[in-house]
């Protein structure tokens, strides 16, 4: 190898593995969405847009899309708001804030399956469930939390917020570290109140990282499967089934690989749009 191409030795293996195992499958998935591939049958053929027509006319589509919208928006708003508030809290010069940071980040280290199992038992429908014991002290009857569609959705949202907010906290904390300290000192000399400093210095400086945060949370929630799958399984009925979960259910319970790929392709397109916005944000900061 000549000196000029020495970099290939370093770069090529990683790039080949990544393209082969992420870019190629993505393209392959789009191709499958135009076939009638079913995991129970060996033969498949090209069917054009038939799967997309089927998806468009899927009776469950309005419900699943509605669930997905509620899930993504609710988790997004809660996670961003809590992430910002907790990051501001952890940025205050209080004693014990290092320990508090470690605690605040902790839920993100717990595997999704464990989080799901844990909260399944917290909201267990028997009188032994933690929540039922708790409301028992308040004199209320035990209830079966996951069998009420709206309650199941609210629990699923709160559980993902519990698990994923640390990511927003970390991003916002790193953003806070980039705010020049002199700005605060200057504002302090000018007699600005802490609230004014927050409003006119901190929040504007956080805007770029906030935008990155919005995109990461949206994409993360849209593509999230672990907690819906292990916590509620999409139930009761389809009350907590989101699009990402439909991919798994259609592909590996119904075994309709082509239909699952059609849903994947729809999410892939949304992901691409989000990524383009992300790259724009990065360029303009």
């Amino acid at each position: 190898m000549t000196k000029r191409y020495q970099y290939l030795f370093f770069v090529a293996p990683a790039v080949i593995i990544v393209l082969g195992m992420t870019a190629y499958p993505a393209i392959y998935g789009v191709y499958v969405s135009f076939t009638n591939l079913h995991l129970a049958f060996p033969e498949s053929r090209f069917v054009g847009f038939a799967n997309y027509v089927r998806l468009f006319n899927w009776p469950a589509l309005p419900e699943v899309l509605g669930n997905t919208a509620i899930f993504v928006v609710a988790v997004g708003v809660l996670q961003l708001a809590l992430g910002l508030l907790i990051a501001l809290l952890l940025d205050l010069k209080l004693r014990g804030r290092r320990l508090m940071r470690s605690i605040a980040i902790l839920p993100w280290v717990i595997p999704g399956i464990i989080v799901a199992l844990m909260f399944q038992q917290v909201f267990n429908g028997s009188r032994l469930g933690v929540m039922n014991t708790f409301i028992g002290y308040l004199g209320l009857e035990s209830r079966s939390w996951f069998s009420n569609p709206s309650v199941a959705m609210i629990i699923m949202i709160l559980v993902l917020v519990w698990r994923a907010t640390p990511l927003s906290i970390m991003l916002q904390l790193s953003g806070l570290q980039t705010v020049p300290r002199e700005l605060y000192e200057a504002a302090g000399i000018d007699g600005a109140s802490p609230l004014q400093m927050l409003r006119y210095i901190t929040l504007p400086s956080l805007k770029p990282i906030m935008l990155i945060n919005v995109i990461m949370v949206t994409s993360g929630t849209l593509n999230h499967v672990d907690i819906p799958l292990a916590l509620t399984g999409g139930g009761p009925g389809r009350a907590t089934e989101v699009l990402a979960l439909s991919i798994y259910k259609q592909g590996f319970e119904v075994l309709d690989a082509a239909y699952a790929s059609t849903i994947s392709t729809v999410i892939l397109v949304v992901n691409l749009v989000l990524t383009i916005v992300y790259l724009r944000v990065l360029r303009y900061r």
Binding site: Q6, Y7, F9, F10, V11, A14, V18, L19, G20, T22, A23, P25, A26, Y28, G29, L37, I86, L89, L92, L94, R95, G96, M100, I103, I105, L106, P107, V109, I110, P111, G112, I113, I114, M118, F119, Q121, R127, L128, W162, M170, L171, L173, S174, P194, I209, I212, S219, N223, D226, L229, A244, I247, Y248, A257, S264, I267, N271, T275, L279, L282
Partner: protein, 294 residues
């Protein structure tokens, strides 16, 4: 609680003559929020941890207790002896170990290449990696299944190692490149003058200096390969190759009709991550930030 914290000498010193009531009130509110945040995060975890030490009879007794009446290791002994959790954890450890080895190896090599050489399409490749980093396994799950089926790798740990390595390399490159960029090129040049090949420079000069960056990237790879759920559920769902997440989801109910093992199993499955977190957290915020911002 906040009141006596505020009266500590340190707080008073900081308050000084210029500190207003408002500032005091603000830190009181701050500590109140600390307590609230701590409770929300730690209570569910504490409930699982404490539950793992309760006697089975206590777990199924009404009313529910929070603090165990007496601590026992029975559940742990039973989980190890009577369930397949040791197999699931061994599978998880094997897959995680090899994923880390390959991801960090290939990822560091590539990061060094991107950091030290300028070539055509370099930025295009880097941005492509960034895009692929935002492409989660969810949308690729059907093609993963079909590809591994075609390669005859369904229900193997190798399939998981291949997929995890590919999905973890992009952010590893970004973190490690950010770190290598901070190491002066004069280090490399001195070694080159001494006649070292580029790979030797990388191995003997650069790699030994990269521990901080490597800790952040290594922890993230560890965390994601240890916890991954959807990919192994689809690719490696048979019992003998099941990793922790699949084992707990698919088979744990069959291993035992009683859920009192679940506490101990959850603690055992999470403990390695917590230990790693203790060591890596120093580097996490800066490492993650450099991965997200560039």
């Amino acid at each position: 609680m906040s009141a006596d914290l505020l009266s500590t000498p340190r707080a008073r010193r900081r308050s000084g003559p210029g500190m207003s009531r408002r500032t005091l009130l603000r830190s009181a509110l701050g500590y109140l929020l600390y307590v609230l945040l701590g409770l929300v995060v730690l209570l569910p975890l504490a409930w699982v941890l404490l539950g793992s030490f309760k006697n089975p009879s206590e777990i199924f007794a009404f009313p529910t207790t929070f603090w165990p009446r007496d601590f026992t290791w029975t559940n742990y002994a039973d989980v190890i002896k009577r369930t397949s959790l040791p197999i699931y954890l061994t599978n998880t450890a094997i897959v995680t170990l090899f994923t880390m080895l390959f991801t960090l190896g290939f990822g560091m090599l590539a990061a060094y290449g991107f950091s030290r050489w300028d070539f055509k399409l370099k930025n295009v490749v880097l941005v492509t990696l960034l895009i692929l980093q935002l492409m989660p396994s969810t949308v690729n799950i059907v093609p993963y299944y079909l590809t591994m089926d075609a390669l005859g790798l369904l229900n193997t740990r190798v399939a998981l190692i291949i997929i995890y390595t590919a999905t973890n390399i992009p952010f590893t490159i970004w973190i490690m490149k950010g770190y290598f960029d901070t190491l002066p090129r004069s280090l490399d040049e001195a070694a080159v003058i001494d006649g070292a090949s580029p790979f030797r420079v990388f191995r003997s000069v650069i790699a030994p200096l990269s521990l901080p960056g490597l800790s952040a990237a290594g922890f993230l790879v560890f965390l994601s390969s240890w916890s991954e759920f959807l990919v192994p559920l689809v690719i490696a769902r048979s019992r003998d190759v099941a990793v922790m997440s699949v084992g707990l989801y698919s088979f744990f109910g069959m291993d035992t009709s009683a859920y009192h093992y679940a506490f101990a199993a959850s603690v055992m499955s999470t403990a390695p991550l917590l230990v790693a977190y203790l060591f890596a957290q120093e580097y996490l915020v800066s490492g993650l930030a450099s991965g997200a911002e560039k």
